[in-house]
């Protein structure tokens, strides 16, 4: 059985600021990032949909340490965003001075853009990730 939506297709779309996900035709729920089955009912009757790309911040952290080869990105603010369709997704937050961030960030509305992680020798190629700014 093949994936309805592979990483390759997801990545290609995200590089154009389009966030692709899956809608389950059985239970009506959304899965994003993609999986082989519906995250909710494990069904396989899925269709590819473009997510709205908007949501609210549910948690955050600003990292002052990072992995080998990514030191130049520090400090980096990582957010978990609850998309309007329900799923949570990892991304970065721009448009804010990290020194001013407080718990008030939780609940703030954001909209999606992207940035490409060019990859390193362990990553089998590049990968776009969501980069959020305030909506």
């Amino acid at each position: 059985m093949e994936y309805k939506l592979t990483f390759k297709e997801y990545n290609k779309a995200l590089k154009q600021d389009k966030l692709l996900g899956l809608k389950c035709n059985d239970c009506g729920m959304y899965t994003c990032p993609p999986m082989m089955v519906c995250h909710h009912c494990a069904g396989t009757n899925l269709e590819i949909v473009e997510m709205a790309g908007t949501g609210k911040i549910v948690s955050f952290t600003t990292s002052y340490i990072g992995s080998e080869g990514r030191e130049g990105e520090l400090p980096i603010t990582i957010v978990m965003v609850e998309l309007d369709e329900g799923p949570w997704i990892f991304g970065n937050l721009i448009d804010i001075d990290h020194r001013t961030i407080t718990m008030d960030l939780i609940g703030k509305k954001v909209k999606l853009g992207h940035k490409v992680f060019p990859g390193d020798k362990y990553s089998a190629g590049d990968a776009a990730r969501p980069v959020f700014s305030f909506a």
Binding site: N11, S63, I65
Partner: protein, 391 residues
């Protein structure tokens, strides 16, 4: 299903920059475990080894067969188990199943890691491989960041103002270092104050240096035997009474439960049910405090405290020797150290000694302990619970 006994154990000093190779570290603790079990290497029928990063840290894969040969377990079947930080614990669980099933009578289980040889930047990179590489690593995912996200979620969900939560988290680290002082195998034997924790380097908000366990080198091993085989070898049997294991997907996919980790709750439920016990029956616990916030989440998920209240319990001393549930009398990952795949074996070593009453000399014996619970978390996905009993 047969009853399974933990016989002897071996435990290296956990440290930075071990002068020994992984094979050497593992061989030494394995031989100690075999000797303490009143056995010889010829008696070992099978070997399970947890090892995560031998390839990155030493260019050494398949450590299990090289070390088996080194200790004279010639041609004995040896398997490597990998589930990030829970590697050692899944190796124990599978060994239990093999002995309980009747296929083998005596199985050696070990765990080893030499993470500090990589240096911090590569170690951080390789540890992050146990998060989702395609959908989370590109955003800068690291394990400190994952637990930092959980800390802010915890503060928000349970309505504990962040400065208050930070003090509770500091209480976890302070306690761990206090008991680590009493453990000769601990990596960082130094008392900490709350101020030390709260003034330490900010790693990733709100996690500071002293909210985090160190990178470590070390090894530990135990021998498992069927009850019949054990009768001839020990008069102080410690039984494995319950086991549980569960998996989960990438951190964001667990959103319906976070900051709770559903896989832990399922694993613990399995272990309690199998042992016929409840959290109230447990006398001593070693849990996976890779970060201070992780200890709070773990203690709640294992059923010792209501959700959102573990921090107060630590502050009230309920997790200390003599408290409601003594937790991490070894110093935990924070002070004892965390040589990834050795951690599950270290927890087992500690708890079996607690149940045999052998920790009095070190001043950290839980008097009259009958039941012990081990909790190990691998990545953001694999959770293992093991319950031990001395009757």
């Amino acid at each position: 299903m047969r009853k399974v006994v933990v016989l002897g154990g071996g435990h290296s000093k956990f440290c930075f920059n071990s002068p020994k190779t992984s094979v050497e570290m593992l061989s030494e603790v394995a031989m100690d475990a075999i000797i303490e079990s009143n056995l010889t290497p010829k008696d070992i029928q099978a070997i399970n080894v947890g090892n995560v990063l031998g390839d990155f840290s030493e260019g050494q894969g398949m450590v299990q067969s090289f070390f088996a040969n080194d200790i004279g377990c010639f041609n004995v079947p040896a398997n490597r188990f990998e589930a990030a930080c829970a590697s050692g614990s899944i190796a124990i669980r599978d060994a239990f199943i093999w002995v309980a099933s009747g296929y083998y009578d005596i199985v050696l289980v070990g765990g080893v890691e030499r993470a500090t040889a990589m240096g911090t930047p590569l170690a951080t990179r390789t540890f992050a491989m146990y998060g989702d590489s395609r959908y989370e690593y590109p955003a800068g995912f690291t394990f400190p960041a994952a637990f930092a996200l959980l800390a802010h979620l915890y503060s928000d969900k349970y309505k504990i103002p962040l400065p208050r939560l930070k003090k509770m988290m500091a209480a976890v680290s302070v306690q761990s270092h206090e008991y680590g002082m009493l453990n000769p195998n601990a990596q960082i034997q130094k008392l900490l104050t709350k101020a030390d924790v709260l003034n330490s380097f900010m790693v990733t908000t709100p996690i500071q240096l002293h909210d985090a366990c160190p990178f470590s080198d070390g090894a530990a091993a135990i021998v498992l035997a069927s009850e019949d085989a054990a009768k001839k070898l020990t008069d102080k049997p410690v039984y494995i009474k319950g086991i549980g294991q569960a998996s989960s997907g990438k951190l964001s996919s667990q959103y319906r439960y976070l900051p709770r980790l559903r896989a832990r709750e399922l694993a613990a439920e399995q272990a309690y049910k199998m042992a016929g016990l409840t959290p109230r029956d447990i006398d001593v616990c070693e849990l996976h405090d890779c970060f201070s916030i992780a200890a709070l989440i773990a203690a709640e998920g294992l059923g010792f405290f209501e959700y959102g209240t573990a921090g107060e319990a630590w502050e009230r001393g309920e997790t200390r020797l003599g408290g409601k549930i003594p937790i991490n009398m070894s110093g935990g990952l924070k002070s004892k150290g965390h040589p990834v795949a050795a951690t599950g074996l270290s927890q087992a070593y500690e708890l079996t000694r607690q149940l045999r009453g052998q920790m009095a000399d070190q001043g950290r014996q839980v008097d009259g302990a009958k039941y012990a619970l081990q909790d190990t978390l691998g990545g953001d996905g694999v959770l293992v619970s093991i319950i031990y009993a001395n009757q």
